[in-house]
Symmetry: C2
Subunit: 404 residues, 2 copies
Amino acid sequence: MAACRCRITFPIRCTSNSNNSHDPNKQNMHKIKIKGTCSRPHKVDSLSQTAGVAITSVASVAENLSHTKEQITRQNIPTKKQYIDAHRQGLIIEEGVGYRQKVVIRSYEVGPDKTATLESILYLLQETALNHVWLSGLLSNGFGATHGMVRNNLIWVVSKLQVQVDQYPIWGEVVEIDTWVGASGKNGMKRDWLIRSQATGHVFARATSTWVMMNEKTRRLSKMPEEVRAELSPWFIEKQAIKEEVPVKIPKLDEKARYAITNLKPKRSDLDMNQHVNNVKYVRWMLETIPDQFLESHQLSGIILEYRRECASSDIVQSLCDPDEDGINNSCLKQANDIPQLNGFSLASEIMERNGLLGSVDKVPLRYTHLLLTKGETQNEEIVRGKTTWKKKQKTMPFQPSKN
Amino acid sequence: MAACRCRITFPIRCTSNSNNSHDPNKQNMHKIKIKGTCSRPHKVDSLSQTAGVAITSVASVAENLSHTKEQITRQNIPTKKQYIDAHRQGLIIEEGVGYRQKVVIRSYEVGPDKTATLESILYLLQETALNHVWLSGLLSNGFGATHGMVRNNLIWVVSKLQVQVDQYPIWGEVVEIDTWVGASGKNGMKRDWLIRSQATGHVFARATSTWVMMNEKTRRLSKMPEEVRAELSPWFIEKQAIKEEVPVKIPKLDEKARYAITNLKPKRSDLDMNQHVNNVKYVRWMLETIPDQFLESHQLSGIILEYRRECASSDIVQSLCDPDEDGINNSCLKQANDIPQLNGFSLASEIMERNGLLGSVDKVPLRYTHLLLTKGETQNEEIVRGKTTWKKKQKTMPFQPSKN
């Protein structure tokens, strides 16, 4: 039975897996926790409404991913499990099932304050997850799907992603990224990550995600076939990057949200191999609603994303954002409530300044709720809900003020 | 004497250099060719007009780049020339003066057609250039400047960049990037690159660039001090990645340009360590003017960029684009001339389709001229001129058509 009927997707359509029964390190399947599943029968209509687009895109993906002989030689995807990947500086750890990759933070992966951006970190999570599958020897002719999944027309879709950042790595810093997978319910999978300083061992960031399988033709969520379970389960371990807390419920924002950016249109450069908007772009759209002045003095320490629907290149997107009231003290909240609904972060930034809301950084909200919506034919449809948590920066990096 | 008075900048403010007189591989300074210099005294006014902004930004950069002890430990920039960098998979080649780095094309560096994007290639050029300086042991407390340059308050600014792409690497492909420097005139420097398939040795791309020095306080171009020449000249070699042809003159476009996107505003995520818009963003803005239908069936095979002025976070930018007439046959040209000036590539795409201009791909222009402008107080000011050359893709990758 499908756990979740909402159309959700994610560029990281990957897992790590092996059906190599001779692997001495393979582990038995562990206790499975049911996580990250939901039932949304009311979303069926919106599913069929967009099914045409989805199927078109699947056809394109299939075409994209048809490997020519030349491509096979050039990519050189392993057909058997490998323990070391010298090119990617990756290796198998955790008794044969986890993956570790060394990464140097590049000059263009940092922002104006010379620390890695959240976007770069999300991209590195994607990259290491895919390289884990790459090394497993089971990466098929697709974007992270196993051979068994391809035989069953299945792809991975992400339902939830959570990242906690304690400290951001800086330009030129060497980090190690560990990633591993585990069971999530009967039919899902978890993937976790740890990002660590190679020099000090300090854990910069932790991340966890939940995945389910979708039939790429019917666009319906699917059970995990036994054939695929046999590939995946030897790789499952029960280890959590983020200690489980009470699940955060992310409310659905509406037009009363304090900040909104409308009419966001994906560009060619926002599309990934699946011809869909890469989820990192979602995060960029979310963060653009937050006033510049706040971003000058604060850094993101946590983000939770709940995916509802994929975003196609033709979608027109609206990004809503609302500060959480329990993060503001009363006097400040009163002022905040006097602010009219704003459209665009530049204006927001000016008004925030005029009201002196940012005079004391202790009084500003430290949590925001987010929603990305796309215009459906009859109603707006949710792409992703988000919750961000922030902390004060140790050193303020001024964003150059507008002269216009 | 300063060769060029226009305000130009570039995030790759780097060179490779060494004053290690014991280096057995160091070479004598070679014959210097005068290249890429120009005299634009008429730009002095526009310089002083924006000097306030520029100086503010320099102060920010200085603050950014002030290293704490912790940063020094975490970055671990070499203080002596190293021959191998295991973390970056880089090594010194070319008899001790060139640099080679192995790079795997990552999942997020490719576009919908699974080949590396031009943006990714430009970022990799930036990255390998900086890593060359990193390994040289002379990288100072800045974005690629040498110790001697920092003592003289000098930074690098790029005046020209040219890239030729024969074939784009694909997702997961291992490439080797070679880079080296040479003299350009008395006071400038050239930096070249070659990107090669590690598996086959095939040269995917070639690039060359020209650099001059600017005093970061006065914002005026500067002679190369003897102290800096002593650092740099041992690294200069006379070798060209791109065979010199007759220099291409890029005409200045005006409001009659066929395609225009107006009101482009840099976002926080477009800014680099210098608090300025990264030049890769310039290229994205340029290419967004080109109709989707053309991009579906063609790939960029060459780009030349001439930098005139840096773009700050407060600038509002206009991207103009015009097809070169000598690349279109007459009947097609006539149709093309009937198209009114367009604002935005979506509209452009529709009109191109209606006129059937793309019915025969042999008839479409294969060269475009570009211009990015920013609104000055009295007149628009040029940021960068560009020329792109295109060839037909071997396999067409459809861009998902709009359903709106």
